[in-house]
Symmetry: D2
Subunit: 512 residues, 4 copies
Amino acid sequence: MIPSLLLRKLYTHGSLRNAADGLSLSLKNRLSAVVLTRLVKVRIGSLDLGPEDLEVDLGEGQWRPATEISSGAPVPFDLKQVAQIRAPGRTISEGMHVIEIALEVKGLGALKFKVEDNTAKPRAERSALPCVKEGNYSRAIVAERRAFVEKTTGATLHHTSQHSFDPELTQGNIENFTGVVQVPLGFAGPLLVKGEHAQGEFLIPLATTEGTLVASYNRGMKVLNLSGGVTCTVQGDHMQRAPVFIFDSAREARSFRKWVEDHMDEIRREAEATTRSGKLKYIDTYLASKFAYLRFNFKTGDAAGQNMVGRATFAACSWILENNDSIRRFYLESNLATDKKASQINLMRTRGKRVTAECVIKREVLLEVMRVEPESLAYHWGVANVGSILSGANNNGAHSPNAIAAMFLALGQDVANLAEGSSGILYTELTPEKDLYISITIPSLIVATHGGGTGLPTQRECLHVLGCVGAGKVHKLAEIIAGVVLAGEVSLGAAISSLEWVSSHEAYGRNR
Amino acid sequence: MIPSLLLRKLYTHGSLRNAADGLSLSLKNRLSAVVLTRLVKVRIGSLDLGPEDLEVDLGEGQWRPATEISSGAPVPFDLKQVAQIRAPGRTISEGMHVIEIALEVKGLGALKFKVEDNTAKPRAERSALPCVKEGNYSRAIVAERRAFVEKTTGATLHHTSQHSFDPELTQGNIENFTGVVQVPLGFAGPLLVKGEHAQGEFLIPLATTEGTLVASYNRGMKVLNLSGGVTCTVQGDHMQRAPVFIFDSAREARSFRKWVEDHMDEIRREAEATTRSGKLKYIDTYLASKFAYLRFNFKTGDAAGQNMVGRATFAACSWILENNDSIRRFYLESNLATDKKASQINLMRTRGKRVTAECVIKREVLLEVMRVEPESLAYHWGVANVGSILSGANNNGAHSPNAIAAMFLALGQDVANLAEGSSGILYTELTPEKDLYISITIPSLIVATHGGGTGLPTQRECLHVLGCVGAGKVHKLAEIIAGVVLAGEVSLGAAISSLEWVSSHEAYGRNR
Amino acid sequence: MIPSLLLRKLYTHGSLRNAADGLSLSLKNRLSAVVLTRLVKVRIGSLDLGPEDLEVDLGEGQWRPATEISSGAPVPFDLKQVAQIRAPGRTISEGMHVIEIALEVKGLGALKFKVEDNTAKPRAERSALPCVKEGNYSRAIVAERRAFVEKTTGATLHHTSQHSFDPELTQGNIENFTGVVQVPLGFAGPLLVKGEHAQGEFLIPLATTEGTLVASYNRGMKVLNLSGGVTCTVQGDHMQRAPVFIFDSAREARSFRKWVEDHMDEIRREAEATTRSGKLKYIDTYLASKFAYLRFNFKTGDAAGQNMVGRATFAACSWILENNDSIRRFYLESNLATDKKASQINLMRTRGKRVTAECVIKREVLLEVMRVEPESLAYHWGVANVGSILSGANNNGAHSPNAIAAMFLALGQDVANLAEGSSGILYTELTPEKDLYISITIPSLIVATHGGGTGLPTQRECLHVLGCVGAGKVHKLAEIIAGVVLAGEVSLGAAISSLEWVSSHEAYGRNR
Amino acid sequence: MIPSLLLRKLYTHGSLRNAADGLSLSLKNRLSAVVLTRLVKVRIGSLDLGPEDLEVDLGEGQWRPATEISSGAPVPFDLKQVAQIRAPGRTISEGMHVIEIALEVKGLGALKFKVEDNTAKPRAERSALPCVKEGNYSRAIVAERRAFVEKTTGATLHHTSQHSFDPELTQGNIENFTGVVQVPLGFAGPLLVKGEHAQGEFLIPLATTEGTLVASYNRGMKVLNLSGGVTCTVQGDHMQRAPVFIFDSAREARSFRKWVEDHMDEIRREAEATTRSGKLKYIDTYLASKFAYLRFNFKTGDAAGQNMVGRATFAACSWILENNDSIRRFYLESNLATDKKASQINLMRTRGKRVTAECVIKREVLLEVMRVEPESLAYHWGVANVGSILSGANNNGAHSPNAIAAMFLALGQDVANLAEGSSGILYTELTPEKDLYISITIPSLIVATHGGGTGLPTQRECLHVLGCVGAGKVHKLAEIIAGVVLAGEVSLGAAISSLEWVSSHEAYGRNR
């Protein structure tokens, strides 16, 4: 049975109207295709309306009496179809009203739900950005928007209007396209990477506005190169969506966990039907109170996959909602995914790629290039670990987000995923030879070589620089980013250990 | 007394050399100006060298016998001055050696320290990016770098080479400038902000590559505007650096906490001497094991201030190191700042600005615009809170990093500070009138209107759009960002609550 | 002005009654002594009652017309005084009613508040434990309770009835005293402690039911003793209560923080007036949404002090509520104290005592006694640290709660404070001599030598064993506990490092 | 191949001795039964000893030439067997020496390992507690210990010596038994529990020294009873041990995860061979750096099971170590279990029992009994949640550890497991009827009805009171504890909400 909370989605809020031709409202089918066999009644406030009081327009642009719909003369009501209902000659007072609607649907019988709506007149729109439904990426409308912004704010949009590509290209990447932000791009390296997917030397594109960043990473890369390169390994790969199901009590929530396990095949089938490349690998269930949180874990191929898994999870949940009677409420997200957040669950159980970069740095290299002994870095690791414990930080390393931000920007990744990407687990160890083993694990690095900003012209060029264009390159990209991150940990870690950290900022004259 | 770990900084690593004119090494004064009264001895491995074996060049380009330096004929050794020492006619085997150096310094007496260095020949440089010491931002060298990258990688740098400004402008923002990344810029709004600094309607620049983001924020802004606008308040403002001091035992660490309290005036004086606008407000001391972690808290005016506080803290620490005998080791950073990290300490005790945006959203607005009841969002808040507890997330809201990333990018902020900025505390409450009170507190939002990328042309234009150029505008900027973040929480929160969240992605056709 | 939420406390819930002599209800003054100048009106549901309809009994057991109270004939209404009000001849329907009461009070003018209550008859009590108001600790009533439990449950209370002291002694420690639980007590040590307060060898009382615990701690103590003893330092000492104040918006919450700073003298005065030994040291304010959380920090002398600081904070808050008009709601606790919880704030900013125990363990001692090299423990520390990061544990050590639980039990401490006490920060370091420096910091160890269970006979004997009876011994006790904890870290850490950990459990034959 | 770090366990530290009959040392087989085919050599410092220099005693108490052992005349060397080796006529200087031992073992070939040991004379024992190997629980030795403690410390052990049972009973529960601590026992309730295992009314035994605790829980139980009782559900049940395996690099760690999955049958077989009731359900693998952390999850029947799973995991790991060549180091515990700690992993993925108690509390009951409206508690939940976010607490409720501690004590549970048990997830919701739904989930409640202190006389009596003696009662016990915890949340939550919280402490006169 379709729960009543879902049924309420049929109603289109804001559609209740005292029109010239009668009181009217709209339904839009947002659930699934059905066949209507009767419009039983509509009640608005204290006004009761039967089929004989009502007319219906099922989208053909033509009104007919509601009494025409019957089990003998059923009408299909398809997904996304809009039905309008009116009661000629009736009106209702302005303000909020409770609306009850009852229908009969083939195979499901009588359905009934309640919503609230008001009849208040739409408010006057304030002056708004020029924007059209079709052709909103044309040069004309873009120019119009720019002029509007300039006029409204007094600012000049000279530089932001200079882009080297056709605005149409950005469809799917941004709405209300009005220009570009130009972020300086520099290169560091080459960095010698010994991955399973990335092998050899790579010049690293870094887009940043922060002085010393490129120089600092460059220095770290030199150290890694002289130590034989950085070894990188992708250790995990999953993207999540985490709906929550709400029950009468904890006991039903627990039964539901079992039910989900028992219906994994169907759930997987429904989820995977919505996507070509996404694969549902497993579901973790977390129980608390009367809630069951399901964390769906997918492989998403070359895409980061948040939308793909959103769609697939929604499809699976729709099937679940239709097939399990004990569910009382449902939300598609519950802060267990955890999208755009730093979290312990991401650190523990991966989001995006889990990737480790590691290197044994030779003692003499560290002394020559960074003027610091391995012992000093290893000691700092211990002290900074205690610091991390005290501060409750999601990263016991130095500054991995610097590299990740600069590469995400250059390579068309979703920069907001830095929330997840900011986590890091640094580890150092003095080898018996008194060299320094150092590694960093990034447990939730969300990267893509397809979708999002990866197709934009400048970003694509940077992906080309790394040889990360085309299918099957996303693990290569993850490895390179991790290698760069490690270079930065070595560089800043050594600078802190040698006390020279501040002076390097000075030399490059930041903060003008 | 200068600790011996600091003294070791005098030695220039990699300078030990078997040259034609004798075994040599260099000292560079990285501590403070002193006057040398004797070069007592140098010991390299098992080779003992007295003043009579040594010659010195104090930077004049001329060698003299080390015996010439005496208390009767002292020589100044200034900060940043380089002294070379050689032992004519001596050589030492290739490899690592322990080096001991003893000096006498006026007012300090005998100083002695040990370092390690090796005599290995420098390795051959690998082919590297074209790069010059002077004029590294000229169009010529930029073109040369571009050509090098294209040749090395086979990629074409066509789009990235198209920027509307002179590369020289990026000095202080990036090294090895080679072009730009163009990030699409859209506008949302206007948003009605009721801050103390930001008042009125603002068109919001958002730079992003993620479809639906601008549209989603736009929808949230509409809801806020129709509810009378968003109220924004900056509740805290501090930037930190957190050095660690290491002692013989916990007892000395505890005494040091007291010592720091007793010497706050001197510490403040030293710190503030390095900066025009930075003010040291207070120091938090955290003790664990034999370590004392000091978290310096500064006001930094219009700048984000990480470098400013790094410099100021270093100056203060130098004074501390010179004036407290009990310190055994010292690092300028200890993971208590916590720079470029999400942390509990930032959430609790602020990093950058702590800013709250809040609004009472009218029931009918939510129904009309978002088709969802306030009750549904309020209920979701509770369920998602339990989700956050389970996942250990640093944000119990929906997606604040989306707005922050897109605005940071557009406005020349340091995107890596999204690590800190990703934290958020969402709160909702149903009012007695059944409207929805909703607020978000961003406890560590690092923003600037001066320094970093704020002076770059496209970014500056966006700052102009918000009226955030010039002195004293940084709280205004923080208020606007918080307001936008709240719009996104309303929009996505409502979408989740109304089940329409996935379909909005669909409509805008992302993931091509 | 007294906020209306406070005023509602005047009303005694459950007192609304249709009695033979009329409809009645009670007020109890739970706020502060006032003088009444008029009873303006009482409205119950739709029934309006003026002074002429009402009679009042102010506790003298005698009814008089409400009209007798006037500004000319005011009556005192003292703290804890009970006033009954009745309307002769009136009745009201059974069920819930909204009650409005209006009074005039000298100096405050008109006060008005609304509450809800119902008139339902009290339910029949179920069969309950025998319990009397006076003399509830007599041997007779204890025996009666025991008989009741035995009869009701079929269990025999033979052993639990055997205690060596008079039940009256437990007044203030437990209600419904019915016997005792006998927990086995063993001794470990002696342990050589080098504290500031605890100096010399101590035999350690441990009450536990877990085999191998005493033996394991004993082994660790041997190692510490052979290394010269354990150095212990109390680094912090504060007890907290954290009320929350709720405002119209974040801006008022921020102003309130300033207001509290400006009124610290008055707040301290009010707080300290309630206690002989408690001293209010400082208040931390944390802002989020429209809430201001105040964390009051007290010194509490020999007591753990939770009640003392609860009382003192309540007094301070009462003063605040009376003197600040902007507060809308208030709760005395807000999960920022954080009582009976493990929390980052306790770890960071201390709750109870912050105490560090440390020792340099000699290499040969570790090899001989524990058959393990220092390197193995130091390496394990690093690996276990990464484990702690992954698991999100509040303790990177091995098992400090074992010692704390066994000592808390033996010494009459509040065992529930193990929640706080479970936090620990372990640190190890290999010295240049290849010995093992090891320390543990317990950031929130709540201990007392006065109050709670410290006065009970068996517990007092154990305190005597440690010489911790009498004033000024609480830091000594904290030092000894920390020393014992470190012994356990050495013992279990070494056992894990030497693989013998499981077998030691085997040998002692637990889990029969 | 047996890794050399394991082989070193053969050597018995402290056994190197310059004895009258020659230089000697011991091996104890702590690995697995093997057959020796040759003693190849022993090297102590610079002293090289071949088989012809050595004599061996394999435990028969008789020395024979080491040359007698050969592939023709092999000798078994069983698990736990001790072999002594001596070199007649040799001595070595006092102090630390490196010892190398080479053996040949049938099927494994040559094995060689290095250890360190010293020959220093054992130190004089300090005066110690009387203690004997056999009969250490006799009344005589207990009296002797008591006398020793009294004499050493000046304390009197009068009350602690009064126990109602034979000390022998405590074998397996404590070493060095010297008496008992008597903890006051009170009863609260009855509490009406609607569990799957616990059904009906239960009188609740609470052992505590903290005044008001019993009274407060009693009040909460009254509220739950009047609302129809508390519904309790066990939602999870697992006990863990988490060893860590260390590899050359992250890549081998990742391969190992796969290897473990592929060998689950063998691993389960080895683990379960060590226990009658323990069942290995699944293993979670967590990767970081070059480490693989395995979290073994067992069902443990009526026991808490920490020792059982320790043994079983060790057996499984021994098999793993013998069958996987890529492992470089191994520790049986890694802070991922996480035993005796509060942790996110326990909260998320259960340790012991995960149990939820819930109740819909009727509005009028709350008003009558607690004088507080449901709205006030629900509002407090939201505010306290934000407080928990700020403080980083492991429990968003009020004080669940109070009930858990008092019941653990009364019922013979391991009180140190309060570290895990302190976590709690509270949730409240106002129902459409304006009643209060409230639930608490305790995610890591470690309870037993067998083993540990459950067999001790007073504790057993309390288990009898609850009907929790005998097999299959452990879920019943978990349900009852959760129900009591909820009573306390209602009681203290309501007290805070009604401002009466402090005064209730006053009334009962604590802190004398």
